[in-house]
Structure formats: structure tokens, C-alpha cells
């Protein structure tokens, strides 16, 4: 045997492998990924609620990636209330883009605010777009009806750029990212940020 191989032979393989336990661990981690999204949402709440932090470059970049994908987005489930949204067609509008999921309580808390904002500010040029990140859209129609959602919702769970839910982006009339929030944010913050944009002009 060659000298190097002889040395490398010191690296003995692991003697045993309990694959059943490892599989359970893997499943648990898959589940906890979801929970982490919620926890991340909670952790951001404290920071974000205290002050609307300016969009960091990394977050803006992720948003651009997410938006880039959404540009070609089609609601892949032909359901009432689920429509395809082309953000390019919304240029000239202020767009509030909210990523959420039905299993995420902070997201649920925000929905009535968006409903209200859409109702009150829609005519002045605000468009709310919800992107539901659920694994499948089964529960979605009933959920939307129950919540009285009056804005557009698409179902799409491919947005790897979004790392915490809820995540909300505000696009100004030119389609640029005006702010980014991850996690639950106070309603007043949203209102202030939206009002700072020339929605009413």
C-alpha cells in the first residue's frame, strides 16, 4: 500500500449508525424549520416594533430576488380569490407585498390591518398583495373568506429569499423597495411608512 493511503487508513469509518433515530431527527428538524420561521418573526417583532429600521442592503437584495420571481408569478392554483399578479403592471401604484402563511399567528394578526388599508387607501393608489407561503393551498379559500380578505393573494411557496414570516415589502410608484420588514410590525408603523410615500397624490 502506498504511504499516503496507509496514513489515511487511520481514519476509520464510524462503527455504527442508528438510521431510525437519525431519520426521526431529520423529520424533527424539517418540522422545526417551520417553527423557526415563526420564532424569527417573534424575535424581529421586538426590534422592528421599536423602530422601523431602514432596509439593509442584504434584505433589499433578498427582496429584489423575491420580487424578481414574483414578476413572472402565476397563482398556480385556480381558485377564486387567488389571482396571478404581475408587479410590472402595478407600476405607478404603491405596492405592499406581504409574505405570510396560514400557520403563522403573527401573520394572521396583520391581515385585518391590510384589509383595512386596502379598503381605505386603495383608491388613493395603494395595492396590497399577499403571497401565501403555505405548502399547499387547500386551507386557503376558507381562510381568506373567514378573514374577509379584500386584496389579491397568490399562493406560492418558492420564495427562498424570504427567511422569516411575516415579511413585508413596500414598493414605491417606480417599483423600488421603500422599506422591508421581517416579523410582526406595529400597525402604526405600516401606516406611517405608507403615508410617507406619495400615495395620495
Amino acid at each position: 500500500m502506498d504511504w499516503v493511503e496507509e496514513k489515511l487508513a487511520a481514519l476509520k469509518p464510524a462503527g455504527y449508525a442508528d438510521s431510525r433515530r437519525a431519520w426521526e431527527r431529520l423529520r424533527a428538524r424539517q418540522r422545526s424549520r417551520r417553527q423557526r420561521l415563526i420564532v424569527a418573526g417573534g424575535a424581529f417583532t421586538a426590534i422592528a416594533a421599536a423602530s422601523a429600521f431602514p432596509p439593509s442592503r442584504a434584505m433589499a437584495k433578498r427582496c429584489v430576488e423575491a420580487c424578481g420571481e414574483i414578476l413572472g408569478l402565476r397563482g398556480d392554483t385556480p381558485l377564486r380569490n387567488l389571482q396571478s399578479v404581475d408587479l410590472r403592471a402595478l407600476r405607478g401604484q404603491v405596492v405592499l407585498l406581504n409574505f405570510w402563511a396560514t400557520w403563522c399567528p403573527p401573520c394572521e394578526a396583520e391581515i385585518p390591518w391590510f384589509v383595512e388599508m386596502q379598503k381605505e387607501m386603495g383608491e388613493r393608489g395603494l395595492t396590497v398583495v399577499g403571497v401565501c407561503m403555505d405548502e399547499n393551498a387547500e386551507a386557503l379559500p376558507a381562510f381568506l373568506r373567514r378573514k374577509g380578505v379584500n386584496y389579491r393573494v397568490v399562493h406560492d411557496n418558492r420564495f427562498a429569499g424570504v427567511q422569516a414570516l411575516p415579511a413585508t415589502f413596500l414598493l414605491d410608484r417606480a417599483g423600488n423597495v421603500a422599506f422591508v420588514h421581517e416579523g410582526l410590525v406595529a400597525k402604526e408603523t405600516y401606516l406611517r411608512e405608507v403615508n410617507e410615500r406619495p400615495v395620495a397624490k
Partner: protein, 164 residues
């Protein structure tokens, strides 16, 4: 849930192989299991069943070498802190310092990561053609690449411990 079913069959087929490869470097079973699980979590159904093992072995080798690097950094950090502690080295520390496995790992750390991964896969018993497939190199160049890695390993080993 098809994706999970798919992941499950790949997991059942290859877990033992993957964890044993990682175990060559990461010797505590819980740590090796942890890293192996991570590798499978990153596995993507789009990779396809027949390319799965190649992908898994390469990722496992990379993850193992990364982990070695990480632990080494932590150890260095801890040994700097250790200057301020009074604990004398334990007999275990002394044994570890003379351990051939420890030496081989230290030498692997001195190599560029790609070479270290290649040698680890070779230690795992991959043939030239398997190695080429796993690393995505041409079969004709794998001999050269491996010879270069071997040479580098020998040099780094000799520098530290002589040709024992």
C-alpha cells in the same frame, strides 16, 4: 408529501454510507449523525435518484472537512483561553497529541479543502472512476489530481512529524 417519501428512500438507501464517511473525520457519533442529517436535509429531489449517492458523498466529504476546520478553530480559541486556566494537560490530551488519527486530521487541515475532500473520499474506498464521478472531474485527470493531493499530504506530514 412526495418529496418526503423520496427523501426517505434516498435516506434509507444511503444513510449508513454517508454517516460512516463523516465518521472518519468526526468521531463522536452524535456529531457525525448531526452532520449527516444536515447533508440529507440539503439534498434536493431534483438531483435524481441515480445521482444521489454521488451528490451525497461529495457533500458529506465537504461537510466533514468543514466541521474539522470549525472544531479546530474552536479548539484554538479554547486553548488561548486555556492560558488563563490552571488545569494541567490531562493524560488524554497527551495521548491525543501523539495519536496518528489526530496527526492525519491536522495534516488534512493544512491542505486545500478540495484536496482534503478528495483524500477523504479515497480513504473511504472510492476507485478512480468513482472519485471522478463524485468530484465531477474527468476520469483522465483524476490520477494527476490525486497524485498532487498525495504529494501535498506527504509534504505537510513530513514537515510536522517526519516520515514516520
Amino acid at each position: 408529501m412526495e418529496q418526503t417519501a423520496d427523501l426517505e428512500s434516498v435516506f434509507r438507501a444511503h444513510y449508513a454510507r454517508v454517516v460512516s464517511l463523516i465518521g472518519r473525520i468526526v468521531r463522536d457519533p452524535a456529531g457525525a449523525e448531526d452532520i449527516a442529517v444536515d447533508v440529507f436535509l440539503k439534498w434536493d429531489t431534483s438531483i435524481g435518484a441515480e445521482a444521489a449517492l454521488r451528490w451525497l458523498l461529495r457533500s458529506a466529504a465537504r461537510a466533514a472537512i468543514d466541521e474539522l476546520r470549525r472544531r479546530n478553530r474552536r479548539q484554538r480559541y479554547e486553548s488561548v483561553l486555556g492560558l488563563f486556566r490552571r488545569d494541567p494537560p490531562t493524560p488524554l490530551d497527551t495521548v491525543l497529541a501523539n495519536d496518528e488519527v489526530a496527526r492525519v486530521r491536522i495534516v488534512l487541515l493544512a491542505l486545500p479543502p478540495r484536496q482534503a475532500e478528495m483524500l477523504l473520499l479515497r480513504a473511504d474506498g472510492l476507485s478512480y472512476s468513482e472519485l471522478a464521478a463524485v468530484l465531477g472531474s474527468r476520469a483522465s485527470s483524476i490520477g494527476t489530481l490525486l497524485a498532487r493531493a498525495n504529494e501535498r499530504f506527504r509534504k505537510e506530514y513530513e514537515k510536522r512529524y517526519g516520515l514516520g
